[in-house]
């Protein structure tokens, strides 16, 4: 059941990201639901599924991306793993915790992504990080928490339930 739900959620996320999400762009910043999905997936399913899921989704992105092959896969595999390790026994149902967790994980993802993309240019990295990564992380976090809240209300299922 969990597997079916995860695959369904992934298809929805992929479709949203590829089609309608650009309509929600504000000042050149748009939500990155794929990172949010990897965080959710790693947080809920543990380190191994988190790592492999992040790798798979990242590789899917890399196939169609202009950057070096494997960059998104690496960044997402790392956060899939770290989130699962760090998020164990964290109160997932608390909105504040969710916000802090998603936001921090996205920043880690962007640290890796922009760290490689800017090729060691410190000034460019700082610029990209503060101009792109931080606003994207904040916007995606708010967007994801709202989406999760709506989905939980509609389905009456705790998508980010606490450990039992």
């Amino acid at each position: 059941m969990k597997g079916v739900r995860d695959i369904f959620a992934l298809i929805v996320v992929l479709a949203l990201q590829a089609t309608v999400l650009y309509r929600f762009e504000i000042a050149g910043i748009r939500p990155d639901l794929l990172v949010a999905y990897v965080i959710y997936f790693g947080w809920m399913r543990g380190p191994i599924p988190g790592t492999l899921g992040g790798f798979g989704i990242g590789l899917l992105q890399d196939l169609d991306a202009s950057g070096p092959l494997g960059l998104n896969a690496l960044a997402k595999a790392v956060i899939g793993f770290l989130v699962a390790k760090a998020g164990f026994r964290v109160h997932r149902s608390n909105v504040g915790v969710r916000f802090a967790f998603f936001f921090a994980a996205m920043l880690v993802h962007d640290l890796i992504y922009y760290g490689v993309v800017t090729g060691g240019d410190g000034g460019e990295f700082v610029k990209q990080f503060f101009v792109k990564a931080v606003p994207t992380a904040a916007y995606t976090t708010v967007f994801t928490i709202l989406l999760l809240g709506i989905a939980e209300r509609i389905t009456h299922v705790r998508l980010l339930a606490d450990e039992t």
């Binding site: 990201q17 309608v20 492999l52 169609d64 092959l69």
Partner: protein, 308 residues
Amino acid sequence: MLRYLFFRRTEWTVFVATALVCLSLMLLERRAQERVVWFLQHTVLAPAEAVAGWTERGVGVYWENEKLRQRTASLQMEVDAMRAERGENARLRHLLGLEQRHPYVLLAADVAGRSLDRLGGSLTLNKGVSDGVLENRAILTPEGLVGRVERVTAHESRVLTLLHRECAVAARVARTRVEGVLRWDFGDQPTLHLLYVSSQEDVKPGDLVVTSGLGGIFPEGVRVGTIDRVGLEPNGLMKEIVVKPAVDFRSVEQVLVYTPSGSGAVAPSDLLDDVRPAEPQPGGTPAATDSSAAPAGAPAVSSGAVAP
């Protein structure tokens, strides 16, 4: 040792192995990366793209309808005005003894899906072979060149934008007609570069870059972007030129598929007229590089989706 790694430290082993695979992929040479991408695209990505296309048609149909109704109303008014102008134009041409021009067909298409990366390396269009779209057709917007069709199915086509590593364009600087090849480069700075321009050539930031028509895929004279920075390559022989694209690939919604109507009929004069190099203005930017100049696609849009 292996037993310890696999059974006691499974999580860390999987993580380290995955990270090593990623790093190996990143360290592969560009050609090897392209082979891996090609293989995976034809096995993994094709179904995902199909799903994305179906969703866009399903979810976006309401929004598109609203927008299309408004566009239809305004376009109808434009068409009426253009019909009158076309009649007048034909009469004047007849008087002047000029031949008919416009040896090309423009087909309007909607963007049904876009690449999952943040840059916008590819687009999926809702038109395919059944609509007359073929591989390697140039894709334009009123702002300028978008890219080329990479592959087509019956009702969809995949477009590589200028921000894709496999899309290279023969281009020239409109002011000085210096030629080069425009290509996305994922070097230290992921940007569009105009390559193979000698260090002796006259190229300045702000110059307009247009297609040169060499290679036969892209029509001549279509706006591509403006020069952002000019430097020298480490060897000192070539210029390092960074080009800012004219089109925002992340938000493009409608495009035009360019099809030469005759065999080898390229170089539509209308497209060229708007970006023909202007006389250098002393102490100022040449008129051709003015961003307010009519874009390459402007006459193309007004010429409609059928061959005149």
